[in-house]
Symmetry: C2
DNA sequence: CTGTTTATGTCTGATACCGTACCGACTTGT
DNA sequence: ACAAGTCGGTACGGTATCAGACATAAACAG
């Protein structure tokens, strides 16, 4: 098997780290498929691997004691999981799982931990990513507090679109309703609203982005801040 | 002027760091008063000092382009500001300001930054605090999405109570309504509801915690998770 | 083709919360 | 003591969203 070439990977963090850093990681990286619902990390448990997604979308979900839950972050090939690795936390209270199937390079948790202790640049990059993710969850909090369902839905579609290859996003209303912590029929009506404005097209199990620019305009108050912050901290994606 | 003694400080992070770490910080620490509304950090600007509050409560607030805002984190003597310092972020998009006046030790941003680069233990402690704060904002997002105003208010009072000395918290309904991103009259009615259950007592400009245990019981689904996580990551407060 | 599952669309009534306005009560300054 | 400002209580109509149930429709499995 040939060695993994840095200029062939699609994960943004793997691309942006120095060639030296990548060189040290390379030997421990392993390619894996990530089917839908695959768990990348379980709440309050040490997780054996860190993942650098190459394709697909993962959700970070927080849960209350009574079982209410909502998504607080989205990870695609812009990031890695679990971000708490760089924060010395051991584990975190979230559930992280695949929402749109994909693939990733993974590396044993302890290996990556050891590497970042000796590589200040790499540590810095992942720390800045952790900050970008924290900002994402902060703006999710804001959005949950003040915005309407259709705007939050638009934000969510845009965030997934950013992390997808084409314009199609495969998932059900049921699933979306859990992510946004709203009723399933509310998702249906909100999608109809966006469809009525010709921003998206929606079929059984699929949402298709039809007019990205207009979608951004519609969501201008709810989408964009944390994306700007990501660019400042990490740099533009390919 | 005598040197600051570590066993006399009240800030939890300053107390919990090693004597060596504290020794290196000590020379740069400076005591300051923090009046209400004092800005500890401004959005998207480098901030000159890091603060370790000894008393009082600061809020981290995120704002949307149209000016909608909500609190995404609370900092008292359990923490420091800005937490993004340890994440190499330079600055962050939030506004951080005093909500209940107090005091703090402050240290030039660059000094602390330099110190944590050479002190792995100190870096680890502050990184874990950054994680604790991120968890706080994640649970705020959850709470904003699924809980009712009276529960969110109860959570908020508990979080402030944790960071206060007595049972009194001084602030106006107006202010609270901004923190929770609700109407001011909604705060009034929610407070009446908690008062009716004998959990608190409320006067012009003051909220008094009357029955902490019952308040926790009332807020059981909304308060507690991130507090547990703080204890795991940082350790019990004095 | 048929029955079963899964996903979506729709309805009805309830309710939590909003926007706005207004008024009284307390606080402060002169 | 009086005016001016601040803060809190209340009311009214409007609406976004909920809770739950039910009906269709597409996909799937035999």
């Amino acid at each position: 098997m040939g060695e993994i070439r840095q200029d062939m990977v699609r994960n943004n963090l793997l691309r942006l780290m120095s060639a030296d850093s990548f060189g040290r990681l390379r030997g421990d990286l392993e390619w894996v498929e990530l089917p839908r619902a695959f768990e990348l990390s379980r709440p309050n448990e040490a997780c054996p691997y860190a993942y650098f997604p190459e394709a697909g979308i993962a959700s970070i979900v927080a849960k209350s004691p009574e079982g209410q839950q909502t998504e607080i972050g989205v990870i695609g090939r812009d990031g890695m999981t679990p971000a708490s690795l760089v924060l010395d936390a051991g584990h975190d209270p979230y559930s992280i799982f695949m929402q749109v199937q994909g693939e990733a390079y993974r590396i044993p948790y302890a290996s990556l931990q050891a590497l970042i202790h000796e590589d200040r640049d790499l540590h810095g990059l992942l720390a800045r990513y952790a900050q970008a993710l924290a900002v994402q969850s902060a703006y999710t909090a804001l959005s949950n507090a003040v915005h309407h369902i259709d705007e939050r839905l638009a934000r969510w579609i845009l965030m997934c679109h950013d992390r997808s290859d084409g314009n199609e996003i495969s998932l059900t209303h049921e699933f979306l309703s859990i992510m946004l912590a709203v009723r399933r029929p509310s998702v249906t009506t909100a999608l109809h609203m966006l469809e009525g404005k010709k921003l998206i097209y929606s079929e059984r199990g699929v949402i298709i982005v039809r007019d990205r620019a207009a979608l951004e305009a519609f969501a201008h108050d709810v989408y964009g801040e944390c994306e700007k912050e990501y660019e400042r901290l990490i740099g533009t994606r390919p």
